[in-house]
Amino acid sequence: MIKKSTWVQIEKVILTPEERLPTIPEDTKKTPLIMWVKGFLLNDSKIGEIVKIKTKTGRIEEGILKEANPSFKHNFGNFCEELNKIDEMVLKELYGDLNA
């Protein structure tokens, strides 16, 4: 059970595939237009239930409860050896043999 007033994320289908603009690419047309918004939960609820939230601007939005206390987990990516190679290439070109 997620307690009322918890910071949550909800999901809502804005357009079903059938309702999408006729001019968009075929692959996109097969998918719904989905919206995600965060806000404070208005009632105690379970994940997957249709709930109402109050957003940061005070709007009330309704949708499927997806996550409580949603976090950002993006990062600097896995190590890419290519960057070391670029460093070596440009330093060598500018300053000559790095080990000399």
Partner: protein, 472 residues
């Protein structure tokens, strides 16, 4: 839901008028034209007032820095006597980390002055954080509408970071899957909230960028006793180029070559769910620059104030691998870490500097902040996760969506010149649409739109069998 969305489109003009406080109809002229300069001149803030608003809100007066090591690197691979001096305007140092703060500062100030309670911006770019930041300073509520995820709810790392920044700065972030219907969602929110439409494309936003053009000229003169020969500008929606060029022209009438640069994403469809995460740049690319240059009024206001073909002298593209390479080179040689998308113009400038004499000056007019997600390693790794091959080779062989080719030799970094006349003709086609007869005013408007003599327009119209008052 679909009925609701269609109704919204019918009320588009009415909602827009209320949400930007501009009656665009008064600028319209004859069949296709409108009075662009009147639209710009009706912005009630003088350039000095704009500078003051920006200064008081953490925007502007960013340093112009000479990139001596990158310049020396260019000279290693240039003909003797060639390799222009490269300077960069470090716009990442604006509050919210990009030049977009210049646009947001004026839009938000204006919204506050007109008594709006909040602002809405439809953007997946740095503009979101810029609006959120300025709104926070002014006590305005803020909603940012982002195209963020594909249908698997996998998001572009740099857009996720922008969402985080917006939230951190107090904004409500409405995130959507791929598709142009984002516009309808944004309209619906404008109608629901009665907030100001802090569009990227209003005259207020573009006026805010003029200070960037003015500053870089003044900075350059202070440092070198002369004005730059060339200014390279990353071009997507066209506002950066338009505003900067307008600012430059306020400082001098002497020619400064205005070069637009975009990341080449040819072959990837911007509204495609599957292509969405196959690209490594979400802004500054040809997916925006081509459509917006050739039809500026596709934006979220009836008449866009961003009209790059009026100002651009040359337009070049550069590949993703080259921009990532130069972003890393900037870090290694100049000791400054900046976001990759903002370095599009730097990668182009690196190539263009080779063909200019040593005493010439090129200004790269922006940088953007970097951080988790908005970092070249995050984007390269994300590309690999999406089965894009990352390798060294000749960047000219890069196929967007299939591979990213990092130059195996710095001599292979090459900005590719684009045919501007072709784009000018495309703009004329888009503007005249079904009109078979054009007035003198229409012709004059088109000539200004493409920054050419009337003869260019007339000759082209003759070719495509459109009559005009001047011809008949």
């Amino acid at each position: 839901m679909v009925i609701l969305m269609h109704n919204i489109l019918q009320r588009k003009n009415e909602i827009m008028k209320k949400a930007v406080g501009i009656d665009f109809s008064k600028y319209e002229k004859d069949n296709i034209g409108f009075d662009y300069e009147a639209l710009m001149n009706d912005v009630e803030y003088s350039i000095d007032e704009i500078k003051k608003i920006q200064f008081e809100n953490g925007v502007g007066n960013t340093p112009l820095k000479e990139l001596k090591n990158l310049t020396n690197l260019v000279r290693k691979i240039s003909k003797p006597g060639f390799g222009a001096r490269i300077f960069i305007k470090d716009e990442a140092l604006n509050d919210s980390g990009s030049f977009k703060a210049r646009r947001a500062s004026i839009s938000c100030y204006h919204a506050k002055r007109l008594g709006y309670k909040g602002v809405i911006a439809a953007t997946s770019g740095n503009y979101g954080a810029a609006v959120a930041s300025q709104a926070a300073k002014l006590g305005l509520k803020c909603i940012v509408v982002q195209e963020c995820f594909d249908s698997r709810q996998i998001g572009q790392p740099e857009i996720i970071e922008k969402a985080r920044a917006c939230e951190a700065l107090g904004a409500e972030v409405v995130q959507l899957t791929v598709g142009p219907e984002l516009f309808n969602v944004s309209l619906k929110l404008l109608e629901e909230t009665n907030y100001f439409n802090a569009s990227l494309y209003t005259s207020y936003g573009i006026k805010g960028v003029e200070t960037l053009g003015i500053e870089l000229m003044e900075d350059c003169f202070k440092l070198t006793n002369k004005y730059p020969d060339m200014v390279v500008i990353t071009n997507a929606g066209g506002g950066n180029l338009t505003g900067t060029a307008r600012g430059i022209k306020q400082v001098t009438s002497q020619p400064v070559e205005i070069v637009g640069a975009s990341v080449n994403l040819r072959g990837l469809h911007m509204a495609s769910d599957t292509d969405f995460n196959r690209k490594s740049f979400t802004t500054g690319h040809t997916g925006f620059s081509y459509p917006f240059m050739t039809y500026p009024d596709r934006s979220d206001v009836p008449r866009s104030a961003a009209r790059p073909l009026r100002y651009i002298d040359r337009f070049v593209t550069i590949n993703q691998g080259e921009v990532f390479f130069i972003t890393e080179a900037l870090t290694a040689l100049e000791g400054i870490e900046r976001g990759p998308a903002g370095n599009t113009s730097l990668a182009a400038a690196f190539s263009l500097a080779k063909d200019l004499e040593e005493d010439k000056i090129i200004i790269v007019q922006e940088t953007e902040y970097t951080g988790a997600g908005k970092h070249h390693q995050a984007q390269l790794d994300f590309a690999k996760q999406n089965n894009i091959e990352v390798k060294f080779g000749n960047p000219k062989d890069e196929i967007p969506g299939k591979n990213i080719i990092l130059p195996e030799d710095i001599r292979l970094i090459k900005a590719v010149e684009q045919d501007l006349d072709k784009m000018r003709k495309s703009l004329i086609n888009n503007l005249i649409k079904n009109h078979k007869h054009l007035t003198k005013n229409d012709i004059e408007f088109l000539a200004k739109e493409v920054n050419k003599e009337k003869e260019f327009v007339l000759n082209y119209l003759k070719q495509i069998n459109v009559s005009s008052e001047v011809l008949t």
